[in-house]
Symmetry: C3
Subunit: 498 residues, 3 copies
């Protein structure tokens, strides 16, 4: 046997030993704490699926000691020493998460002798993952609830388009409905989860008392939690496997970033990147940390470009991990109502533009520049993204791509402006009433112009999904809609003047 | 023996063991009956793909004896002893299915000395799977053909919207076309397959005579078969692997339950359940019977909640298997034109509502309660579903979810009612003519209100796919469409009065 | 050792054997040429992803000698002896492709001492794959750029629907924009890539000079390349794994053949073929050459029916490989504006119909027969496709299927004709102006009639995806749109006459 053969033989024997040990009864799996074992004993019968899912997770197979024992690039916790409130020699089980920080939790309740929080929050996750929670803390996602509901313009749009309507004697009356907001905008943006006292429910062990949560269930990215924190890590790291392969898969982002308003997932699927992912990811390592380009994967997912720690095969860092999903993005192509440089703060309801409104652009595309990142920051972010592109593409390719993208941003904004100019005539002629600009037929077509068509074209440009720039809410629709608005305006005007 | 010799010896031994085991494996495959072997001898050349597909199936690898030898929960046949017309020691091959019950089959024909049925029907499958066929027998799926074609209201909708139209001198003339019905509504609902004599076709072995089938091919769930039975098991268990993994995959249901009218598949894909399925099902056991939650899978597919036998890891039954797809469903959210409690019978053409029409609700949402399941049955079915949810979710979650769902059912019905009230004005003013309520522009928008938008919102609510409640045929469209109907009605009225 | 331990021990030893054999295999990888090694030495740092992707490819693992050593059916090159300009004992690396035919390449440039082409073209690929490039050479795909841009009718459609518009004092002004064409129509059809001098870019090794390419990047199927050739093999065989599994996967075709205009991919996904593919292809061999029906796969993808070399399990050829994607297709169901027999040449801009226009049919569906394949050729192509169907389906099934298809082709053309007749009245009455038939509201609805709805129904008929024939751009929309056109025409007429 040469050296190489000997090594392989040794490796095989080691593997045998490992498997043998495994078969002996999970000797290497970390012990479960007494508290968690108590949870499992009941919940293995009551909610067996969630217990078993946790048993497949890294949380069940690691202790803080083993997690901290990894080299820095491979580490999945961002603490440097064990926190005080979790033992470092047990698996991260039910109790380790659901019993944290009880004093913060208005949803903490006595449950068969244990003080349990219903809703594990980012503040709880921060115990072991502080860097990730801090990255997220001031992002638009973290503020996704208040950015809608505390902004009177957006809130009017939300309420108008999710109200029920009655019709009688030629007139509509409307009723604002909370449940429809929870199932639409707030399903992704997050709801305001509060504890409204306790309630009694039937269980297999008789009647029990549990907190009565409002606006629950919800997994929105900007959820307001009963402990006062914002966000839901489970949006992308769902319960209870917390498998990083899920967070890195485009289907996860695709739960909210979907056509017609934010067709990022659809565009990705149609792109060459998505094409290669779909065919080849079965052969990839979707769980490796760090994520090595060309080794672990050969085409990017959403996470690769926007979030993940990416290195080359030798461990040289190409992109740092960040849960600030805007950190590699300089322009906001999701136009409201025009595209614009990213906002400085994730809290966009503090913006005041020259119309006096909390919007990043005025009605005719004047930028609220004081609230937007400057050119230097834009350049820095673009360089981060370009660095990721450069893993596979040369400069000529990348430059050509972003040159098209820049032009498309300008073109689509001009198509929104044209539609807005028609609307100014519509409102001037009192064909429709702009007191609420979101509740009449031409107004709703105008919203489609920027919310659906301009957004779709820009997303398609950013990630090269041609159909979403063409016939699928693309140029075909943005031109047709503009013509339709003007034509229908003429008809309404003709009808009115009789 | 030195190390090297030992290894070579060991390796040889292993190789022998592997080969020996392999040869034993082949010996274990059951014999093919003489009749089936005759089919295979020719069809291995004529239609090799379908023969090979069968060879991958459990039908080719089991006899009735081995199938009946399994413990009850794992058994895939629902007989307790072998039927008389299939030998219990041969594989379930071509002849075992295609030569069953020849006297029932008007499509039975002489084929190279064998009496063959072209269309294997549920009655044939019932030979070994009687429970499954009985469960299916009175379902809406089984009646899917006649529920459309024997109901004058629905038949008018079908015929009006699949006719060809000619235009001349300002007037349309229409022509009802059977082939377009076969490719649209009846592709999913099933066609009426009859034998219209025999016809001669060319084959590799010269001219042969075969039955001339009408409305064929078709795999619709309510297909009328030449043996007088209803349904097509192959809709979900396609030929000839009959792989249960296909039936359990959402893609199968998604062939018919698709947006815009029944977006169940789309909503599922967008949901967290679908998200987890898409990423993780590669690691699941999609073929295990029974299907063990948390062990074989960690998030539900359509089948999990609506059909499959589900147990926990210890074999405790969480949900019984049923091919009555309504058995765990209490409300029919596919509104025609409003949602309503499930019908008592799968045959909905027998209903008579207070308008005198065979519809479960009246035009203004009066329920035809005599034909609908009562509250007790609704509660019983909801409990079955809740039990499935409870595999992973606690009561607070489940209760909150269904509370939203109930409110959304009411809200969407009110949005249909509002549109209907506008239409009453439209028809009163003779702007459009309700003799056929499915053939003029405002009428067609009104159909969209319930068939697309209300259905989409309710599906999205049921399975948590927010986009289908919001911008993708959701609240945005249901509100916009209502305003558009009224606005366009005013224009047409203005135009008419000149 | 108990039985379990023994088994684990045995498994480990087997693994050892496998790994040992594997380590020997590494030694068999072909040497990389000196030129290619120079590329890799830098690009492993500069663009590591693309280098690693190539390392997974067959190009990196074969020489021309090993490629030519295979039996004819399994061979992936279509030469019979090594070409003169590639060594036959090295891997097909960077230099072997990017340094070919430098005299043809206006994009050839000096790059660290090497003369490199930026854009590898079909002419370059032809060095080893001449049959494939020849098959492609006269197809509609190869002419996809000029068929749009050299045809004044289609070019008007392209320019009108991708222009930006301004609105002022009740009037629109428009501006033709190249970048929006590049991101829409030409993203799939291909752009005209030319070298506009050199430019200086920053690299990790300082400033370097590279060719300044116009309309780049692009991967369209009819791309005009800097060496004068047409096409981009990388559209379907993407860089740099060139994995045949990608080309054979429906997701690749689905990058361009997407709803609403060409919903082939969507229809396939909804079909039973797509259903089986989605669930089962994990168990298939997507890379086997030849592709053996029933052995390597049990349901077709796009490639199976339209392109691939398909054999039965014994190696009998069912369909020859062809990169002329029309070779098994007799009718063009992508109607412009009606369906018609396939064109004789892939260059469709040479057609002249009885209206004097370069379109395969006249405005009222007169065929330009001199430019279309005759009945004999149609029959021959249909027989090729029928042969593929016959791998799994009997004659009755196939005949019934194509009978429906033929009727649907006629029906949908009649629905386009009806809409066209209404438009003739619209233009006669000067309600809209047909000087440009693609720029006013009724005209745009008329385009939808054939481009979206008729095409969708025919695709759904061809591949059995019922929703795309029904409610998803199907009969529901084609009927509704026809009624809408006529109704809105009456409104505009009423408004005008005041």
């Amino acid at each position: 046997m040469n050296i190489r053969t000997s090594l392989i033989f040794l490796f095989s024997l080691l593997l045998f030993t490992a498997l043998y040990a495994g078969s002996q009864g999970t000797a290497d799996e970390p012990p479960v704490s007494e508290d968690s074992q108590a949870c499992i004993d009941c919940h293995n019968m009551v909610t067996p699926g969630i217990v078993r899912d946790w048993q497949t997770s890294r949380h069940s197979k690691n202790t803080l000691s083993t997690a901290l024992g990894k080299d820095e690039l491979s580490r999945r916790v961002s603490i440097t020493k064990p926190p005080e409130n979790i033992a470092d020699s047990v698996a991260i089980g039910c109790a380790e998460c659901h019993m944290l920080n009880p004093d913060n939790h208005t949803d903490n309740f006595e449950h068969f002798g244990y003080a349990i929080n219903v809703v594990v929050s980012p503040t709880d996750c921060k115990t072991c993952h502080p860097a990730e929670v801090d990255e997220y803390h001031d992002t638009k996602k973290a503020f996704a609830y208040s950015n809608l509901k505390s902004n009177p313009v957006f809130n009017l749009l939300v309420e108008t388009s999710t109200s029920t309507y009655d019709y009688s004697e030629g007139t509509f009356s409307s009723h604002i409905t909370g449940h429809s907001q929870n199932e639409t905008c707030l399903a992704c943006h997050g709801t305001d989860v509060k504890v409204a006292g306790m309630k009694t429910i039937e269980s297999d062990l008789g009647e029990i008392e549990v907190p009565n949560l409002t606006n629950w269930p919800n997994m929105g990215v900007g959820r307001l939690n009963p402990d006062g924190s914002k966000g839901a890590c489970t949006s992308c790291h769902p319960r209870h496997s917390f498998d990083i392969a899920i967070a890195r898969s485009p289907y996860t982002c695709g739960q909210c970033h979907l056509e017609p308003d934010v067709p990022a997932f659809n565009v990705y699927k149609e792109s060459k990147h998505g094409n290669i992912f779909t065919v080849k990811h079965k052969e990839w390592d979707m769980k490796a940390v760090p994520w090595k380009v060309g080794i672990d994967f050969t085409a990017p997912t959403c996470a690769t470009c926007h979030t993940s720690l990416v290195t080359d095969g030798d461990g040289t860092v190409i992109a740092e991990r960040s849960h600030d999903f805007g950190s590699r993005v300089w322009v906001r192509i999701f136009g409201l109502i025009y595209s614009h440089p990213q906002t400085k703060s994730g809290n966009t309801s503090i913006i005041k533009n020259d119309d006096g409104l909390p919007l990043p652009t005025t009605f005719t595309n004047g930028k609220a520049s004081a609230f937007l990142i400057d050119e230097k920051e834009q350049t820095a972010r673009k360089e981060k993204m370009t660095n990721v592109c450069g893993s596979c593409h040369g400069s000529t390719w990348i430059d050509g791509h972003f040159e098209k993208f820049d032009k498309t941003i300008a073109s689509t904004d001009s198509m929104t402006l044209a539609a807005t100019k028609v609307m100014l005539d519509v409102w001037r002629d009192k064909i429709e009433n702009n007191e609420n600009p979101f509740d009449e037929p031409l107004e709703l077509k105008w919203v489609n112009q920027w919310l659906f068509y301009a957004n779709s074209i820009r997303s398609a440009s950013a990630m090269i999904g041609p159909d979403y720039a063409t016939f699928k809410n693309g140029w075909w629709q943005i031109v047709k809609n503009l013509k339709d608005i003007e034509d229908y305006y003429q008809l309404k005007k003709g009808n009115k003047t009789e």
